[in-house]
């Protein structure tokens, strides 16, 4: 997600708070952002005066080294990754490390690739690799200089290892030197270690928060925030996207025990109660009529028919090359196929939630904020406050997969509107936790957009691809958002075509066009974004073409990867490690680059007697540059392919007359332990800069399994999920 922001960082301009948010009756429950620019905040975590306090780490006299984490850790291991970078350069001991989320302050904590504080696009390590190492090295230099000064020795004679500072017979901990180090000037330049000097980077680092996560994760997640005097709200939202509240009869809701207030807002009706269950009981008996005049009323069947019609019409052309039509005219064989992909819900385990406290002059929020700068600005705009009057407390998040990063900050906007209405109604400032039930979360929109593809590809007499025409139909995720200028060019939304237009297969004669229909269903990035569907199309087409050319699927791909050594490298590594397919298993392969990382997956699939499939084993090879934490890379690839496998097997959001049909896990069956394959992950040794790993494991699994299913059944599955075909 958010990698569309990479090409340039927005220029900081002093905005008025009004420029932040334009409330309108749009698709997202009534909220559309006008423009978003980074703003300023001076908030800093409080530290004691005798600590060494730097923006990215604190060393306290009690010898705790606290790493200030600027990224949201939603399970991908960002907190441990950043701590590893600091600890390595500082030569801290692992036992003395703690982590703490950074305040919202884009000046200090912006994602260096986005220009705003935020997490996504598998960039947490990529953008922080130098910054956090420099922070560790800077602190180390200050500690060393402090030791040299107090011991009367030359700094060159001072060593640091595992948190212990030594020179001759002198010895001290980092904590003992913290106060003196704080008095040292901050060095302007520091020299970073060379890879052979690393003590933690590249090693198996245990996750810092993991023991807590075996004991109930007490105090970690936003939904567990239980402030003194806190109330809980649930909101009744319109059943159709874009509808607004017409009238409310809340008399029955107010009569429910525990319900303390009912607040009608533009986007819905909030029931505030002393506990979550009472709030839900109150909501159940609310009587609300909706104004559907701006609502999306089409169902997915109607949308599918419209998209299919668009597949027959030329769309907006993306930059092409060569002469695709001419080459196809002369091709010896042509393979053509249409594909269809459904809306998908993220279904992260922790439903969306946020706690807000507003007293009329200041406001504070607690939640798993994924783009703090936008969330912060929207909160201020809704409440009529300036940026420094708002505090965002980032909590750990129970999964996200993209869901917590929204361009319109609808979650914080809803919470701010609720807190504001509460204050206006009651005159009191009380923390209110707005909780989404699973049904709220699943029906809330912000889906992976449904897409259709059409491909025509030719082969020449040598069995090489000759001519490739590709059409994509689907809502652009970035269109109409503040990110539009970064990722939409000449009418083509990069998020719909990434993985196609930038393929590194040798396709000299290539044409691509797109349709981005206007649909009132809010859509969003979903772990690996456009690659969720483009990899499926590219890699199943490559399989069909290999077969049409009478070639081995690995050799055929390698023959077209002469210009991408790293992608070819992971393909060869995976093929070598997989060995021959076991008896009774059907094998499929796929390889795909995303987020500047390279992943190959080989799936061994068994066909059960009832005709369903079981993916038994997946062999993976990944190249994500220098591996910072190999075990976490393996974990992300295991989980990433599990997430992708879940989607292709049974996940599908449909709408009937504009209303979401699936409301909970029984309707939207997630991957379970009974579906999970064993997984081997092989990591390419590399000295390249580190790139993302949260997402690249997801795209290849779908096509790898689809290619295996073809070998098992002779069926080419081109509309998802597999459950539509009795395979899952």
């Amino acid at each position: 997600m958010l990698h569309y922001l990479n090409p340039q960082a927005p220029t900081p301009v002093a905005p008025t708070r009004r420029s932040f948010l334009k409330l309108a009756a749009g698709a997202a429950g009534g909220i559309v952002i006008g423009s978003v620019l980074p703003m300023r905040n001076v908030a800093q975590a409080s530290v004691s005066a005798d600590a060494l306090a730097q923006p990215f780490l604190h060393i306290a006299p009690d010898n705790t080294v606290t790493i200030i984490v600027k990224h949201l850790d939603k399970g991908q291991g960002a907190a441990t990754g950043l701590a590893t970078l600091v600890a390595d350069e500082l030569d801290a001991d692992l036992g003395q490390l703690a982590v703490e989320y950074a305040p919202s302050n884009p000046d200090v904590y912006k994602n260096l690739l986005f220009g705003v504080q935020g997490t996504g696009g598998s960039t947490a390590i990529a953008n922080s690799f130098d910054q956090y190492r420099q922070a560790g090295a800077t602190a180390r230099a200050m500690v060393v200089n402090a030791a040299a000064e107090s011991w009367g020795v030359a700094p060159e004679t001072v060593s640091v290892a595992k948190g212990v500072v030594k020179a001759g017979d002198k010895k001290a901990t980092l904590g003992e030197l913290a106060e003196a180090a704080a008095a040292q000037p901050v060095p302007e330049t520091v020299t970073l270690k060379t890879p052979d000097q690393w003590v933690y980077v590249g090693k198996e680092m245990p996750r810092v928060e993991l023991p807590a996560k075996t004991e109930g994760s007490v105090g970690l997640f936003g939904i567990d925030h239980q402030p003194e005097g806190g109330l809980v709200a649930v909101m009744l939202r319109a059943p159709r996207f874009g509808a607004t509240v017409a009238s409310v009869d809340d008399s029955a809701a107010r009569a429910v025990d525990g319900v303390v207030e009912v607040l009608a807002l533009p986007a819905g009706v909030a029931v505030v109660a002393s506990d979550t269950w009472s709030a839900m009981q109150g909501r159940d008996v609310l009587d609300v009529t909706w104004d559907d005049s701006n609502a999306e009323t089409r169902g997915t069947e109607e949308l599918a028919a419209e998209y299919a019609a668009l597949l027959n019409q030329p769309g907006t052309a993306a930059p092409g090359r060569g002469d695709a039509a001419g080459k196809l005219g002369a091709a010896t064989k042509i393979v053509e196929a249409d594909y269809s992909f459904p809306f998908l819900n993220h279904a992260q385990m922790e439903p969306l939630n946020i706690t807000a406290l507003f007293d009329g002059e200041t406001a504070e929020f607690w939640f798993g904020s994924q783009i703090q700068t936008i969330d912060h600005g929207v909160a201020a705009a809704v409440l009529g406050l300036e940026f420094p009057q708002v505090r965002i407390n980032t909590t750990w998040a129970g999964g996200s997969f993209g869901r917590r990063a929204t361009a319109d900050a609808h979650l914080v906007a809803e919470a701010a509107m609720t807190a504001k209405a509460w204050l206006e109604k009651t005159g009191t400032a009380q923390p209110i936790k707005l909780v989404f039930t699973r049904e709220d979360d699943m029906a809330s929109g912000y889906f992976r957009p449904m897409h259709m593809h059409r491909v025509r590809a030719g082969l020449d007499e040598n069995g090489m691809i000759s001519g490739w025409e590709h059409r994509v139909v689907g809502q652009g995720i970035l269109m109409g958002t503040p990110f539009e200028s970064f990722g939409v060019h000449d009418g083509v939304d990069h998020s719909s075509v990434e993985g196609v237009h930038d393929t590194t297969y040798d396709l000299p004669d290539f044409a691509l066009d797109v349709h981005h229909p206007h649909v009132g269903v809010p859509v969003l990035w979903w772990r690996s974004v456009g690659h969720t569907h483009t990899a499926y199309v590219m890699e199943t087409m490559m399989d069909e073409l290999a077969e049409a050319a009478g070639q081995d699927p690995v050799e055929f791909r390698l023959a077209h990867l002469k210009n991408d050594v790293r992608l070819a490298g992971v393909l060869k590594l995976a093929a070598e490690k997989a060995g021959p397919a076991p008896d009774g298993r059907h094998r499929g392969i796929a390889v795909h680059k995303s987020f500047n990382s390279y992943a190959a997956e080989i799936a061994d699939v068994r066909l059960r007697d009832d005709g369903t499939i079981k993916v038994e084993h997946v062999t993976c090879a990944v190249d994500c540059g220098v591996p910072i934490n190999p075990d976490n890379i393996r974990a992300q690839v295991e989980g990433g392919l599990g997430y992708g496998l879940s989607a292709i097997l049974r996940e599908e959001i449909t709408l009937t007359e504009g209303e979401v049909d699936q409301l909970n896990y029984p309707d939207y069956p997630p991957l379970r332990i009974t579906d999970m394959p064993t997984v081997d992950v092989h990591i390419t040794a590399s000295t390249e800069a580190p790139t993302g790993i949260g997402e690249p494991g997801t795209p290849p699994i779908g096509p790898a399994v689809a290619n295996a299913v073809y070998r098992a059944t002779g069926q080419r599955i081109r509309d998802l999920p597999f459950s539509r075909h009795g395979l899952a």
Binding site: K74, G75, Q76, G77, P206, R207, E209, L210, P211, A212, K213, T214, E215, G216, S217, V218, L220, I223, D224, Q226, D257, S274, D275, T276, W277, Q348, M349, E350, P351, W396, A397, G398, G399, S400, F401, T437, R438, D631, N632, A635, Q636, E638, G639, G640, L641, G642, Y643, L645, S646, N664, Y665, P666, P670, R672, I673, T674, D675, M676, T678, V679
Partner: protein, 152 residues
Amino acid sequence: MARIVLNGTPTDLDVSPDMPLLWALRDHLKMTGTKFGCGVASCGACTVHVDGVASRACQTYVGDIEGAEITTIEGNATPQAEAVRQAWVELQVPQCGYCQSGQIMSASALLTDVPQPTDDDIDAAMAGNVCRCATYARIRKAIHRASDIMEA
């Protein structure tokens, strides 16, 4: 209103008998280790032990558990639970961690009933616990590892 034995301590639940145990624990006793995932007993995030049996707290009503012994993740200190925790850390199982209270409660109940489970035993006992981070392969390995720890 019900009186239960919660993690070994007699405890009054002064709430409606219709309230699911999940919300009595989380909102009234401020014990947030038991997580809310789906509310329909489909994800297992709220798994607790009711008289030693792994149960979904979101579909366990306060009015039905008078006198029951309830164990939550905060109070689960059996040798099985401690072996599971150790294995979970050794194999670095959790990612986001949100489902892991429930996973650990189901796994420790399994090991109490079946000290040396097969893969099929694990599938049967753990299929009700969803993990969207898909840590399942490690969960399976870690349950075997916990069994070995118990054996040692």
